[in-house]
Amino acid sequence: MAAIEISGLRKDYPVGFWRKRPWRALDNLSLCVERGEVFGFLGHNGAGKTTTLKILTGLIFPTAGAATIQGLPIGHPDALRNVGYLPENPYFYDYLTAEELLDYFSRFFPMSPEQRRQRRELVLEQAGLAEFRNVALRKFSKGMLQRIGVAQAVLHNPEIVLLDEPMSGLDPVGRRDVRNLILQLKSEGKTVFFSTHILSDAEAICDRVAILQRGKLVGVGQIAELLQRQSGFEAVIESCPAALLPRLQALASAPVLASGGHHRMELAEENVQGLLSLCATHSIRLISLNPLRFSLEDYFVELLRAGEEARGPAAAKAKAS
Protein backbone atom coordinates (compact mmCIF):
# COMPACT_ATOMS: atom_id res chain seq x y z
CA MET A 1 0.00 0.00 0.00
CA ALA A 2 1.34 3.42 -0.99
CA ALA A 3 1.84 6.09 1.67
CA ILE A 4 -0.02 8.68 -0.39
CA GLU A 5 -2.07 8.04 -3.48
CA ILE A 6 -3.57 10.93 -5.43
CA SER A 7 -5.91 10.27 -8.31
CA GLY A 8 -7.30 12.85 -10.72
CA LEU A 9 -7.28 15.63 -8.16
CA ARG A 10 -8.76 18.91 -9.33
CA LYS A 11 -9.33 22.15 -7.50
CA ASP A 12 -11.21 25.13 -8.92
CA TYR A 13 -11.45 28.42 -7.04
CA PRO A 14 -14.18 30.89 -7.93
CA VAL A 15 -12.67 34.24 -8.95
CA GLY A 16 -14.26 37.54 -9.92
CA PHE A 17 -16.49 39.85 -7.96
CA TRP A 18 -19.84 39.85 -9.75
CA ARG A 19 -19.58 37.01 -12.21
CA LYS A 20 -17.71 34.22 -10.52
CA ARG A 21 -15.72 32.01 -12.85
CA PRO A 22 -13.60 29.03 -11.90
CA TRP A 23 -9.83 29.30 -11.77
CA ARG A 24 -8.14 25.94 -11.89
CA ALA A 25 -5.43 25.66 -9.25
CA LEU A 26 -4.95 21.93 -9.68
CA ASP A 27 -5.66 20.00 -12.84
CA ASN A 28 -6.11 16.24 -12.85
CA LEU A 29 -3.16 15.53 -10.57
CA SER A 30 -2.32 11.89 -10.10
CA LEU A 31 0.72 10.60 -8.29
CA CYS A 32 1.81 8.04 -5.79
CA VAL A 33 4.27 8.42 -2.94
CA GLU A 34 5.72 5.14 -1.71
CA ARG A 35 6.39 4.33 1.91
CA GLY A 36 9.77 5.38 3.22
CA GLU A 37 10.70 7.69 0.38
CA VAL A 38 11.57 11.37 0.40
CA PHE A 39 9.40 12.92 -2.27
CA GLY A 40 10.02 16.46 -3.48
CA PHE A 41 7.20 18.51 -4.88
CA LEU A 42 8.52 21.26 -7.10
CA GLY A 43 6.98 24.13 -8.98
CA HIS A 44 6.97 27.89 -9.17
CA ASN A 45 4.66 30.10 -7.11
CA GLY A 46 1.02 29.33 -7.76
CA ALA A 47 1.81 25.97 -9.35
CA GLY A 48 -0.52 24.16 -6.94
CA LYS A 49 1.92 22.67 -4.42
CA THR A 50 0.34 24.21 -1.33
CA THR A 51 -3.14 23.47 -2.68
CA THR A 52 -2.22 19.79 -2.95
CA LEU A 53 -0.87 19.68 0.60
CA LYS A 54 -3.92 21.50 1.95
CA ILE A 55 -6.22 19.03 0.23
CA LEU A 56 -4.28 16.14 1.73
CA THR A 57 -4.62 17.63 5.21
CA GLY A 58 -8.32 18.41 4.80
CA LEU A 59 -7.91 22.18 4.94
CA ILE A 60 -9.53 22.59 1.54
CA PHE A 61 -11.80 20.31 -0.38
CA PRO A 62 -11.09 19.00 -3.89
CA THR A 63 -13.47 19.89 -6.72
CA ALA A 64 -12.93 16.43 -8.20
CA GLY A 65 -10.69 13.42 -7.73
CA ALA A 66 -9.64 11.51 -4.67
CA ALA A 67 -6.65 10.84 -2.49
CA THR A 68 -5.76 8.36 0.20
CA ILE A 69 -3.19 8.39 2.98
CA GLN A 70 -2.12 4.89 3.97
CA GLY A 71 -5.24 3.64 2.23
CA LEU A 72 -7.60 5.90 4.19
CA PRO A 73 -9.57 8.47 2.20
CA ILE A 74 -8.67 12.09 2.96
CA GLY A 75 -11.26 14.25 4.67
CA HIS A 76 -11.63 12.02 7.72
CA PRO A 77 -9.54 12.64 10.84
CA ASP A 78 -8.40 8.99 10.87
CA ALA A 79 -6.39 9.65 7.70
CA LEU A 80 -4.38 12.25 9.63
CA ARG A 81 -3.59 10.08 12.65
CA ASN A 82 -0.20 9.16 11.23
CA VAL A 83 0.52 12.44 9.47
CA GLY A 84 2.58 15.42 10.56
CA TYR A 85 2.17 18.69 8.69
CA LEU A 86 4.20 21.87 8.55
CA PRO A 87 2.28 24.66 6.80
CA GLU A 88 3.99 27.25 4.61
CA ASN A 89 5.18 30.28 6.66
CA PRO A 90 3.77 28.78 9.84
CA TYR A 91 2.16 30.93 12.49
CA PHE A 92 1.44 29.62 15.92
CA TYR A 93 -0.33 30.98 18.98
CA ASP A 94 2.16 33.64 19.98
CA TYR A 95 0.90 33.84 23.57
CA LEU A 96 2.12 30.29 24.18
CA THR A 97 5.66 29.20 24.94
CA ALA A 98 7.33 26.55 22.79
CA GLU A 99 6.65 23.92 25.43
CA GLU A 100 3.02 24.95 25.90
CA LEU A 101 2.42 24.77 22.15
CA LEU A 102 3.83 21.27 21.92
CA ASP A 103 1.88 20.21 25.00
CA TYR A 104 -1.32 21.59 23.43
CA PHE A 105 -0.78 19.81 20.11
CA SER A 106 0.21 16.54 21.78
CA ARG A 107 -3.22 16.38 23.41
CA PHE A 108 -4.77 15.57 20.03
CA PHE A 109 -3.05 12.20 19.91
CA PRO A 110 -3.55 9.11 22.02
CA MET A 111 -0.54 9.50 24.30
CA SER A 112 -0.17 9.18 28.05
CA PRO A 113 1.06 12.25 29.98
CA GLU A 114 4.47 10.61 30.31
CA GLN A 115 4.65 9.84 26.58
CA ARG A 116 3.63 13.43 25.86
CA ARG A 117 6.40 14.75 28.07
CA GLN A 118 9.02 12.46 26.51
CA ARG A 119 8.06 13.33 22.93
CA ARG A 120 7.99 17.03 23.80
CA GLU A 121 11.50 16.86 25.25
CA LEU A 122 12.79 14.87 22.29
CA VAL A 123 11.44 17.12 19.55
CA LEU A 124 12.51 20.28 21.38
CA GLU A 125 16.00 18.81 21.55
CA GLN A 126 15.93 17.74 17.89
CA ALA A 127 14.76 21.18 16.79
CA GLY A 128 17.51 22.85 18.83
CA LEU A 129 14.93 24.72 20.90
CA ALA A 130 15.42 23.07 24.28
CA GLU A 131 16.85 26.22 25.82
CA PHE A 132 13.96 28.30 24.47
CA ARG A 133 11.21 26.03 25.81
CA ASN A 134 9.84 28.73 28.13
CA VAL A 135 10.09 31.61 25.67
CA ALA A 136 6.83 32.96 24.24
CA LEU A 137 6.51 32.30 20.53
CA ARG A 138 5.95 36.01 19.87
CA LYS A 139 9.65 36.44 20.61
CA PHE A 140 10.74 33.75 18.13
CA SER A 141 12.57 34.64 14.92
CA LYS A 142 11.27 33.31 11.60
CA GLY A 143 13.86 30.55 11.63
CA MET A 144 12.87 29.50 15.17
CA LEU A 145 9.21 29.46 14.17
CA GLN A 146 10.08 27.19 11.28
CA ARG A 147 11.90 24.91 13.70
CA ILE A 148 9.01 24.75 16.15
CA GLY A 149 6.81 24.10 13.11
CA VAL A 150 8.88 21.09 12.17
CA ALA A 151 8.92 20.00 15.83
CA GLN A 152 5.10 20.04 16.07
CA ALA A 153 4.89 18.13 12.78
CA VAL A 154 6.96 15.21 14.11
CA LEU A 155 5.68 15.47 17.70
CA HIS A 156 3.51 12.34 17.58
CA ASN A 157 6.13 10.33 15.69
CA PRO A 158 4.07 10.15 12.49
CA GLU A 159 4.83 7.77 9.64
CA ILE A 160 4.16 10.42 7.00
CA VAL A 161 5.48 13.97 7.23
CA LEU A 162 4.15 16.68 4.91
CA LEU A 163 6.30 19.79 4.80
CA ASP A 164 5.28 22.88 2.85
CA GLU A 165 8.39 24.89 1.95
CA PRO A 166 10.29 23.77 5.08
CA MET A 167 13.46 25.63 4.07
CA SER A 168 11.69 28.88 3.31
CA GLY A 169 13.13 31.82 5.23
CA LEU A 170 15.91 29.82 6.83
CA ASP A 171 19.57 30.77 6.86
CA PRO A 172 22.13 28.26 5.51
CA VAL A 173 22.55 26.64 8.93
CA GLY A 174 18.80 26.33 9.38
CA ARG A 175 18.44 24.83 5.91
CA ARG A 176 21.13 22.31 6.67
CA ASP A 177 19.40 21.37 9.93
CA VAL A 178 16.07 20.82 8.19
CA ARG A 179 17.82 18.82 5.47
CA ASN A 180 19.45 16.66 8.12
CA LEU A 181 16.14 16.23 9.89
CA ILE A 182 14.50 15.02 6.68
CA LEU A 183 17.34 12.56 6.12
CA GLN A 184 16.99 11.41 9.72
CA LEU A 185 13.26 10.86 9.20
CA LYS A 186 14.07 8.85 6.10
CA SER A 187 16.55 6.74 8.04
CA GLU A 188 13.78 6.03 10.56
CA GLY A 189 11.65 4.71 7.70
CA LYS A 190 9.28 7.69 7.53
CA THR A 191 7.76 9.01 4.34
CA VAL A 192 8.52 12.68 3.70
CA PHE A 193 6.53 14.63 1.14
CA PHE A 194 7.73 18.18 0.84
CA SER A 195 7.35 21.12 -1.44
CA THR A 196 10.25 23.43 -2.12
CA HIS A 197 11.64 26.14 -4.30
CA ILE A 198 15.20 25.31 -3.39
CA LEU A 199 16.13 22.81 -6.06
CA SER A 200 19.60 22.07 -4.74
CA ASP A 201 18.02 20.83 -1.50
CA ALA A 202 15.56 18.68 -3.41
CA GLU A 203 18.38 17.29 -5.49
CA ALA A 204 20.42 16.49 -2.40
CA ILE A 205 17.78 14.66 -0.38
CA CYS A 206 14.90 13.46 -2.56
CA ASP A 207 14.45 9.95 -3.84
CA ARG A 208 11.86 11.16 -6.31
CA VAL A 209 10.46 14.49 -7.38
CA ALA A 210 7.32 15.70 -9.11
CA ILE A 211 7.19 18.98 -11.00
CA LEU A 212 4.00 20.98 -11.19
CA GLN A 213 3.22 23.75 -13.60
CA ARG A 214 0.00 25.73 -13.46
CA GLY A 215 -1.62 22.90 -11.53
CA LYS A 216 -0.53 20.20 -13.93
CA LEU A 217 2.02 17.50 -13.35
CA VAL A 218 4.73 17.95 -15.97
CA GLY A 219 7.35 15.53 -14.70
CA VAL A 220 7.80 12.86 -12.07
CA GLY A 221 10.49 10.31 -11.37
CA GLN A 222 13.73 9.45 -9.65
CA ILE A 223 16.22 12.27 -9.70
CA ALA A 224 19.03 10.15 -11.13
CA GLU A 225 16.70 8.90 -13.85
CA LEU A 226 15.45 12.38 -14.69
CA LEU A 227 18.90 13.89 -14.90
CA GLN A 228 20.46 10.98 -16.76
CA ARG A 229 18.37 11.79 -19.77
CA GLN A 230 20.21 15.04 -20.12
CA SER A 231 23.80 14.00 -19.49
CA GLY A 232 26.62 15.24 -21.77
CA PHE A 233 30.28 16.13 -21.51
CA GLU A 234 32.34 19.19 -20.87
CA ALA A 235 35.69 19.37 -22.64
CA VAL A 236 38.53 21.80 -22.13
CA ILE A 237 41.18 21.93 -24.88
CA GLU A 238 44.18 24.07 -25.61
CA SER A 239 43.54 27.07 -27.84
CA CYS A 240 43.22 25.83 -31.37
CA PRO A 241 43.69 27.67 -34.69
CA ALA A 242 40.80 29.94 -35.63
CA ALA A 243 40.21 27.89 -38.76
CA LEU A 244 39.17 24.92 -36.62
CA LEU A 245 36.67 26.83 -34.55
CA PRO A 246 33.69 26.21 -36.86
CA ARG A 247 34.38 22.45 -36.69
CA LEU A 248 34.56 22.63 -32.90
CA GLN A 249 31.34 24.61 -32.78
CA ALA A 250 29.66 22.00 -34.98
CA LEU A 251 30.44 19.35 -32.37
CA ALA A 252 29.38 21.50 -29.40
CA SER A 253 25.87 21.71 -28.01
CA ALA A 254 26.45 25.30 -26.75
CA PRO A 255 28.67 28.18 -27.84
CA VAL A 256 32.40 27.39 -27.46
CA LEU A 257 33.97 29.72 -24.91
CA ALA A 258 37.56 30.91 -25.07
CA SER A 259 39.39 31.99 -21.94
CA GLY A 260 42.95 31.91 -20.57
CA GLY A 261 44.38 30.16 -23.63
CA HIS A 262 41.77 27.40 -23.44
CA HIS A 263 38.56 26.55 -25.20
CA ARG A 264 35.72 25.23 -23.13
CA MET A 265 32.82 23.43 -24.76
CA GLU A 266 29.82 21.27 -23.95
CA LEU A 267 29.01 18.38 -26.23
CA ALA A 268 26.73 15.42 -26.48
CA GLU A 269 28.02 11.92 -25.86
CA GLU A 270 27.85 10.95 -29.55
CA ASN A 271 30.19 13.83 -30.47
CA VAL A 272 32.93 12.89 -28.01
CA GLN A 273 34.61 10.57 -30.50
CA GLY A 274 34.59 13.33 -33.13
CA LEU A 275 36.30 15.73 -30.74
CA LEU A 276 38.96 13.18 -29.83
CA SER A 277 39.67 12.55 -33.54
CA LEU A 278 39.89 16.30 -34.21
CA CYS A 279 42.34 16.75 -31.34
CA ALA A 280 44.47 13.80 -32.50
CA THR A 281 44.51 14.91 -36.15
CA HIS A 282 45.54 18.50 -35.36
CA SER A 283 47.69 17.76 -32.30
CA ILE A 284 45.50 19.79 -29.98
CA ARG A 285 46.01 18.94 -26.33
CA LEU A 286 42.88 17.78 -24.54
CA ILE A 287 43.12 19.14 -21.01
CA SER A 288 39.99 17.59 -19.51
CA LEU A 289 36.87 15.71 -20.50
CA ASN A 290 34.25 15.33 -17.81
CA PRO A 291 30.72 14.02 -17.79
CA LEU A 292 28.40 16.97 -17.54
CA ARG A 293 25.74 16.41 -14.96
CA PHE A 294 22.77 18.65 -15.49
CA SER A 295 21.32 20.01 -12.34
CA LEU A 296 17.75 19.59 -11.30
CA GLU A 297 17.45 23.31 -11.91
CA ASP A 298 18.31 22.84 -15.60
CA TYR A 299 15.75 20.08 -15.87
CA PHE A 300 13.17 22.13 -14.04
CA VAL A 301 13.69 25.22 -16.19
CA GLU A 302 13.59 23.16 -19.36
CA LEU A 303 10.34 21.48 -18.37
CA LEU A 304 8.73 24.79 -17.48
CA ARG A 305 9.93 26.35 -20.74
CA ALA A 306 8.56 23.41 -22.73
CA GLY A 307 5.27 23.80 -20.88
CA GLU A 308 5.12 27.50 -21.67
CA GLU A 309 5.92 26.88 -25.34
CA ALA A 310 3.24 24.23 -25.59
CA ARG A 311 0.82 26.58 -23.95
CA GLY A 312 1.89 29.55 -26.10
CA PRO A 313 -0.03 28.78 -29.32
CA ALA A 314 -3.10 27.69 -27.40
CA ALA A 315 -3.02 30.83 -25.25
CA ALA A 316 -2.52 33.04 -28.30
CA LYS A 317 -5.43 31.29 -30.05
CA ALA A 318 -7.66 31.77 -27.03
CA LYS A 319 -6.70 35.45 -26.88
CA ALA A 320 -7.45 35.95 -30.60
CA SER A 321 -10.86 34.33 -30.30
Binding site: K54, L59, I60, Y85, P87, Y93, F105, F108
Partner: protein, 260 residues
Protein backbone atom coordinates in the same frame (compact mmCIF):
# COMPACT_ATOMS: atom_id res chain seq x y z
CA UNK B 1 -10.55 11.03 23.08
CA UNK B 2 -12.95 13.31 21.18
CA UNK B 3 -14.05 14.97 24.45
CA UNK B 4 -10.42 15.41 25.60
CA UNK B 5 -9.48 16.99 22.26
CA UNK B 6 -12.45 19.38 22.37
CA UNK B 7 -11.64 20.33 25.95
CA UNK B 8 -8.01 20.97 24.96
CA UNK B 9 -9.26 23.51 22.39
CA UNK B 10 -11.58 25.06 25.01
CA UNK B 11 -8.73 25.27 27.49
CA UNK B 12 -6.47 26.96 24.97
CA UNK B 13 -9.21 29.45 24.06
CA UNK B 14 -9.54 30.29 27.74
CA UNK B 15 -5.76 30.63 28.03
CA UNK B 16 -5.67 32.94 25.01
CA UNK B 17 -8.35 35.15 26.58
CA UNK B 18 -6.74 35.38 30.00
CA UNK B 19 -3.43 36.37 28.40
CA UNK B 20 -5.10 39.24 26.56
CA UNK B 21 -4.48 42.58 28.30
CA UNK B 22 -7.66 44.11 26.92
CA UNK B 23 -9.67 41.64 28.98
CA UNK B 24 -8.05 42.85 32.20
CA UNK B 25 -8.73 46.48 31.25
CA UNK B 26 -12.40 45.72 30.75
CA UNK B 27 -12.74 43.73 33.98
CA UNK B 28 -10.88 46.40 35.95
CA UNK B 29 -13.10 49.08 34.47
CA UNK B 30 -16.22 47.11 35.43
CA UNK B 31 -15.02 46.64 39.01
CA UNK B 32 -14.23 50.38 39.28
CA UNK B 33 -17.69 51.19 37.97
CA UNK B 34 -19.34 48.87 40.52
CA UNK B 35 -17.28 50.47 43.31
CA UNK B 36 -18.25 53.95 42.08
CA UNK B 37 -21.90 52.90 42.44
CA UNK B 38 -21.33 53.34 46.17
CA UNK B 39 -20.76 57.05 45.52
CA UNK B 40 -23.98 57.27 43.48
CA UNK B 41 -25.73 55.61 46.37
CA UNK B 42 -24.54 58.27 48.81
CA UNK B 43 -26.29 61.04 46.87
CA UNK B 44 -29.50 59.00 46.55
CA UNK B 45 -31.03 59.01 50.00
CA UNK B 46 -32.96 55.85 50.84
CA UNK B 47 -32.30 53.99 47.61
CA UNK B 48 -28.55 53.40 47.92
CA UNK B 49 -28.94 49.65 47.72
CA UNK B 50 -31.28 49.79 44.71
CA UNK B 51 -28.84 52.09 42.87
CA UNK B 52 -25.88 49.87 43.75
CA UNK B 53 -27.56 46.66 42.53
CA UNK B 54 -28.87 48.34 39.38
CA UNK B 55 -25.53 49.87 38.42
CA UNK B 56 -23.64 46.74 39.48
CA UNK B 57 -25.77 44.34 37.41
CA UNK B 58 -25.80 46.72 34.45
CA UNK B 59 -21.99 46.97 34.59
CA UNK B 60 -21.62 43.19 34.69
CA UNK B 61 -24.01 42.87 31.75
CA UNK B 62 -22.47 45.65 29.60
CA UNK B 63 -18.86 44.68 30.23
CA UNK B 64 -19.69 41.00 29.81
CA UNK B 65 -21.29 41.90 26.50
CA UNK B 66 -18.22 43.91 25.45
CA UNK B 67 -15.91 41.04 26.35
CA UNK B 68 -18.15 38.49 24.59
CA UNK B 69 -18.26 40.55 21.41
CA UNK B 70 -14.61 41.60 21.56
CA UNK B 71 -13.36 38.03 21.96
CA UNK B 72 -16.18 36.28 20.11
CA UNK B 73 -15.87 38.07 16.78
CA UNK B 74 -12.31 36.86 16.32
CA UNK B 75 -12.92 33.33 17.60
CA UNK B 76 -12.71 31.64 14.20
CA UNK B 77 -11.78 34.47 11.88
CA UNK B 78 -8.55 35.34 13.69
CA UNK B 79 -7.36 31.74 13.48
CA UNK B 80 -8.05 31.64 9.75
CA UNK B 81 -6.54 35.05 9.17
CA UNK B 82 -3.34 34.30 11.08
CA UNK B 83 -3.22 30.74 9.71
CA UNK B 84 -2.76 29.24 13.18
CA UNK B 85 -5.67 26.99 12.25
CA UNK B 86 -3.66 25.11 9.63
CA UNK B 87 -1.49 23.31 12.17
CA UNK B 88 -4.46 22.59 14.41
CA UNK B 89 -6.89 21.25 11.81
CA UNK B 90 -4.23 19.02 10.30
CA UNK B 91 -4.37 17.05 13.53
CA UNK B 92 -6.85 14.15 13.66
CA UNK B 93 -9.83 16.20 14.79
CA UNK B 94 -13.24 17.01 13.33
CA UNK B 95 -13.98 20.59 12.42
CA UNK B 96 -16.98 20.62 14.73
CA UNK B 97 -14.64 19.98 17.64
CA UNK B 98 -12.81 23.18 16.85
CA UNK B 99 -16.02 25.24 16.74
CA UNK B 100 -17.46 23.69 19.89
CA UNK B 101 -14.12 23.93 21.72
CA UNK B 102 -13.86 27.62 20.88
CA UNK B 103 -17.44 28.20 22.04
CA UNK B 104 -16.87 26.39 25.34
CA UNK B 105 -13.57 28.19 25.92
CA UNK B 106 -15.08 31.62 25.47
CA UNK B 107 -18.00 30.76 27.73
CA UNK B 108 -15.58 29.56 30.39
CA UNK B 109 -13.78 32.93 30.12
CA UNK B 110 -17.06 34.79 30.46
CA UNK B 111 -18.10 32.64 33.41
CA UNK B 112 -14.87 33.41 35.28
CA UNK B 113 -15.04 37.12 34.43
CA UNK B 114 -18.69 37.39 35.43
CA UNK B 115 -18.01 35.62 38.72
CA UNK B 116 -15.09 37.98 39.35
CA UNK B 117 -17.23 41.06 38.66
CA UNK B 118 -20.09 39.57 40.72
CA UNK B 119 -17.76 39.17 43.68
CA UNK B 120 -17.02 42.89 43.30
CA UNK B 121 -20.73 43.68 43.40
CA UNK B 122 -21.27 41.36 46.37
CA UNK B 123 -18.35 43.02 48.20
CA UNK B 124 -19.71 46.51 47.45
CA UNK B 125 -23.15 45.43 48.68
CA UNK B 126 -21.69 44.12 51.93
CA UNK B 127 -19.68 47.34 52.35
CA UNK B 128 -22.91 49.34 52.00
CA UNK B 129 -25.33 47.28 54.08
CA UNK B 130 -22.95 45.35 56.41
CA UNK B 131 -25.39 42.46 56.22
CA UNK B 132 -27.21 40.41 53.59
CA UNK B 133 -30.98 40.09 53.34
CA UNK B 134 -32.73 36.88 52.15
CA UNK B 135 -33.93 38.65 48.97
CA UNK B 136 -30.33 39.49 48.03
CA UNK B 137 -29.96 35.93 46.77
CA UNK B 138 -32.04 36.95 43.74
CA UNK B 139 -29.02 38.99 42.61
CA UNK B 140 -27.45 35.64 41.74
CA UNK B 141 -30.48 34.79 39.63
CA UNK B 142 -29.97 38.05 37.75
CA UNK B 143 -26.28 37.17 37.32
CA UNK B 144 -27.27 33.72 36.06
CA UNK B 145 -29.54 35.40 33.49
CA UNK B 146 -26.65 37.65 32.43
CA UNK B 147 -24.58 34.51 31.90
CA UNK B 148 -27.36 32.99 29.77
CA UNK B 149 -27.52 36.22 27.80
CA UNK B 150 -23.74 36.14 27.24
CA UNK B 151 -23.98 32.46 26.27
CA UNK B 152 -26.41 33.48 23.54
CA UNK B 153 -24.33 36.48 22.44
CA UNK B 154 -21.25 34.22 22.16
CA UNK B 155 -23.19 31.84 19.92
CA UNK B 156 -24.26 34.77 17.70
CA UNK B 157 -20.62 35.99 17.51
CA UNK B 158 -19.36 32.51 16.73
CA UNK B 159 -21.94 32.10 13.99
CA UNK B 160 -20.89 35.33 12.26
CA UNK B 161 -17.20 34.70 12.90
CA UNK B 162 -17.42 31.57 10.72
CA UNK B 163 -18.05 33.51 7.53
CA UNK B 164 -17.60 37.21 8.19
CA UNK B 165 -14.87 39.67 9.12
CA UNK B 166 -14.49 40.72 12.79
CA UNK B 167 -15.84 44.24 12.17
CA UNK B 168 -18.94 43.02 10.35
CA UNK B 169 -19.44 40.29 12.97
CA UNK B 170 -19.28 42.93 15.72
CA UNK B 171 -21.82 45.15 13.92
CA UNK B 172 -24.20 42.26 13.20
CA UNK B 173 -23.97 40.92 16.75
CA UNK B 174 -24.49 44.35 18.29
CA UNK B 175 -27.50 45.06 16.06
CA UNK B 176 -29.02 41.69 16.89
CA UNK B 177 -28.45 42.37 20.58
CA UNK B 178 -30.11 45.80 20.37
CA UNK B 179 -33.11 44.56 18.36
CA UNK B 180 -33.31 41.38 20.47
CA UNK B 181 -33.35 43.44 23.68
CA UNK B 182 -36.34 45.36 22.38
CA UNK B 183 -38.01 42.35 20.73
CA UNK B 184 -41.33 42.77 22.57
CA UNK B 185 -41.45 46.50 21.77
CA UNK B 186 -40.79 45.77 18.11
CA UNK B 187 -43.71 43.33 18.01
CA UNK B 188 -45.99 45.75 19.89
CA UNK B 189 -45.06 48.49 17.43
CA UNK B 190 -46.10 46.22 14.53
CA UNK B 191 -49.43 45.48 16.21
CA UNK B 192 -50.08 49.18 16.79
CA UNK B 193 -49.57 50.08 13.12
CA UNK B 194 -52.53 47.84 12.09
CA UNK B 195 -50.59 47.19 8.89
CA UNK B 196 -50.72 43.44 8.19
CA UNK B 197 -47.40 43.44 6.33
CA UNK B 198 -45.55 45.34 9.06
CA UNK B 199 -47.27 43.24 11.69
CA UNK B 200 -46.07 40.01 10.05
CA UNK B 201 -42.57 41.45 9.67
CA UNK B 202 -42.24 42.52 13.31
CA UNK B 203 -43.73 39.21 14.48
CA UNK B 204 -41.18 37.34 12.34
CA UNK B 205 -38.36 39.45 13.85
CA UNK B 206 -39.74 38.73 17.32
CA UNK B 207 -39.62 34.96 16.78
CA UNK B 208 -36.48 34.73 14.63
CA UNK B 209 -34.06 36.95 16.54
CA UNK B 210 -32.93 35.99 20.01
CA UNK B 211 -35.13 37.61 22.62
CA UNK B 212 -32.82 39.21 25.16
CA UNK B 213 -35.48 41.23 26.96
CA UNK B 214 -36.59 38.27 29.12
CA UNK B 215 -33.11 37.98 30.59
CA UNK B 216 -33.21 41.45 32.12
CA UNK B 217 -34.45 41.21 35.71
CA UNK B 218 -32.11 43.79 37.27
CA UNK B 219 -34.97 46.22 37.93
CA UNK B 220 -37.05 43.66 39.84
CA UNK B 221 -34.08 42.22 41.73
CA UNK B 222 -32.84 45.65 42.83
CA UNK B 223 -36.22 46.17 44.51
CA UNK B 224 -35.97 42.82 46.26
CA UNK B 225 -38.63 41.18 44.10
CA UNK B 226 -38.30 37.42 43.55
CA UNK B 227 -37.71 35.77 40.17
CA UNK B 228 -40.03 32.86 39.46
CA UNK B 229 -38.57 29.40 38.96
CA UNK B 230 -40.63 28.94 35.76
CA UNK B 231 -38.79 31.96 34.25
CA UNK B 232 -35.45 30.45 35.24
CA UNK B 233 -36.40 27.19 33.53
CA UNK B 234 -37.81 28.86 30.44
CA UNK B 235 -34.86 31.20 30.02
CA UNK B 236 -32.40 28.34 30.48
CA UNK B 237 -34.20 26.16 27.93
CA UNK B 238 -34.53 29.08 25.51
CA UNK B 239 -30.82 30.06 25.74
CA UNK B 240 -29.61 26.47 25.41
CA UNK B 241 -31.89 25.69 22.43
CA UNK B 242 -31.21 28.93 20.59
CA UNK B 243 -27.42 28.81 21.19
CA UNK B 244 -27.32 25.14 20.14
CA UNK B 245 -29.04 25.97 16.87
CA UNK B 246 -26.55 28.77 16.21
CA UNK B 247 -23.57 26.55 17.06
CA UNK B 248 -24.92 23.80 14.77
CA UNK B 249 -25.30 26.38 11.97
CA UNK B 250 -21.75 27.65 12.66
CA UNK B 251 -20.41 24.08 12.51
CA UNK B 252 -22.25 23.47 9.24
CA UNK B 253 -20.85 26.63 7.63
CA UNK B 254 -17.32 26.07 8.94
CA UNK B 255 -17.25 22.41 7.90
CA UNK B 256 -17.88 23.39 4.29
CA UNK B 257 -15.37 26.20 4.22
CA UNK B 258 -12.10 26.06 2.28
CA UNK B 259 -9.24 27.40 4.40
CA UNK B 260 -7.32 29.15 1.62
Amino acid sequence: MIAAQTLAIARNTFREAVRDRVLYNLVAFAVILIASALLFGEISIGVEKTILINIGLSSISVFGLLIAIFLGIGLVHKEIDKRSLYSLLSKPIHRWQFVVGKFLGLNLTLLVNTLFMSMGLWGALYYLTRSFQPEDVYIWTAIYFILLELFLVTAVCLFFSCFSTPILSAIFTFLIYVVGSAASDVRDFGTLTKNPLLESLTTAIYYLLPNFSDFSVAGAVSHGLPVGSHLILLNTAYAVCYASMLVIAAVWIFSKRDLK
